[in-house]
Symmetry: C2
Subunit: 286 residues, 2 copies
């Protein structure tokens, strides 16, 4: 038999998989094997360190449920999720950002101008803007699907046991004939990602906090265009410079301006205290 | 705020951890972040591929129990465990190999010459050799801790529900005044690693089998010397060239020779059909 050493092993492992040459599966599998093996050789990983990594993954698995995705959280705090968003952002289109764990794909359709706050306390903001292509042509009928935390930094879906409706603070809007969308809601507050599990231990070991800056979540769609999943943040607000999950991009930060009558060219169900304007740009499907 | 892009993100993630400069924790964390981010950039990982990786880890977590270590198995089939063994093998010492999932740290002490087969069917082999340092000086009193599968490729610990004693086919021996050990047992057979979980799916996707060549497990210890965890394999036996977990090294393959009276300078409880000789070499603690 041909002997295997710490250098020739990597090729032997790759060769053991009879994958379709140059298939995407082969590229990703080989890439992952190369990087994990390089990491092990470069750092001369000890058995104790190796076992600690594996037990960390085991612990992440144990705390995970269909509602608690510790591996997604791990990916988030290591910037892996943000990087996937970045490498998939299309030139000219609005930058992508975290989907997060709280999206529901059957949120209620609401008319333009509706209020999403469901009588919650806090600053009432008008959120408005246009959905266009990268040449500024409006995209009438674009779908703007949004969800968010309340003014205490909590998503209603997290407090269903306290009687909250998981569909609160969510809405799906259809942009008007000029590609415009508008609605009122409560200004969300920062919140922490879950830190009672292995990922929380990692954050503590690295003296990191678990806070995310306040944000609104969006998925924006239009036929023939690439959908974008992104978040809108607010200028100068807490944690904007050190989001625990690296979701903030400069292009995704909006100003919160006091509402003056002149700022509000739209009919709204509720009278806002402040106004946030953000335009979405979609790129065509390739 | 300073904007972050797909290249500057990696440093930002590393900087977010306030780790002790150049500490081992920092080196490993930064190394892992660098490699995962490089992997993502090099292959422009899509959201679907990213989610598939995370759901694969989630599934590994769900099937794992204290007795079923899917993450260790994953590490094994990707050659990561073998590589950790290789980078930690000391020059001059016996090469390390997989610990595997079936080690028990309280196996029974047995006298030299004892039989471990507990009346199991199969080829009775005499296993013998010396434990020395790298200058061939015997190490009297060295501890040779061994465990193995039976002639059907099964570990008794896997069949406790069928009435098997989990301590069968295990023994802890103390080398004699010349560093020699010897015992009889049954020649083990190949077996498969568990392939009913996510790792099995990965093997099938890569058209790989789940077989390991027959082997004997060892941990060998002596005061003042580095312990070794390793496996001994048998020349020309099935799967010796394509172990599913990459445990085989050329230096760990022993011959199985027919027993002739002259080959057996030892007293044994049972008369062997064949003889396997293997010497262990330990390096001093650094």
């Amino acid at each position: 038999m041909k002997d295997i050493n710490e250098y020739s092993l990597t090729q032997a492992v790759k060769d053991s998989f009879k994958t379709e040459p140059d298939s995407r599966f082969e590229q990703l599998l080989h890439g992952l094997i190369d990087h994990l093996h390089d990491f092990t050789r470069e750092h001369q990983l000890t058995h104790e360190e190796w076992m600690r990594v594996l037990m960390f993954l085991y612990d992440c698995g144990k705390i995970s449920t269909p509602e608690r995705h510790e591996f997604i959280l791990l990916s988030d705090v290591l910037g892996f999720s943000a990087l996937v968003d970045m490498v998939n952002s299309r030139g000219g289109a609005t930058e992508g950002s975290n989907l997060g764990p709280f999206y529901l794909d059957n949120a209620p359709r609401k008319p333009l101008g509706a209020d999403l706050s469901d009588e919650r306390d806090g600053v009432c903001i008008l959120v408005h803007g246009k959905v266009t292509d990268s040449l500024h042509n409006p995209l009438p009928g674009a779908i703007v699907d949004t969800w968010q935390a309340d003014a205490a930094g909590t998503y209603p879906i997290q407090e269903q046991e306290q009687g909250q409706d998981k569909m609160d603070l969510r809405g799906v809007f259809e942009a008007d004939e000029n590609g415009r969308y508008w609605y009122t809601t409560v200004l969300p507050k920062p919140y922490t990602v879950p830190y009672d599990g292995p990922v929380g231990e990692l954050l503590r070991a690295g003296k990191r906090h678990a806070w995310r800056p306040a944000h609104l979540h969006y998925i924006v769609r239009h036929p023939g265009m690439n959908s974008i999943t992104t978040e809108v943040f607010f200028e100068n607000m807490d944690y904007i410079d050190n989001d625990a999950v690296f979701g903030v991009r400069k292009s995704l930060i909006a100003k919160v301006k006091p509402a003056k009558k002149a700022d509000i060219p739209y009919e709204t169900q509720k009278t806002p205290d402040a106004v946030v304007e953000f335009d979405f740009v979609l790129a065509p499907e390739s």
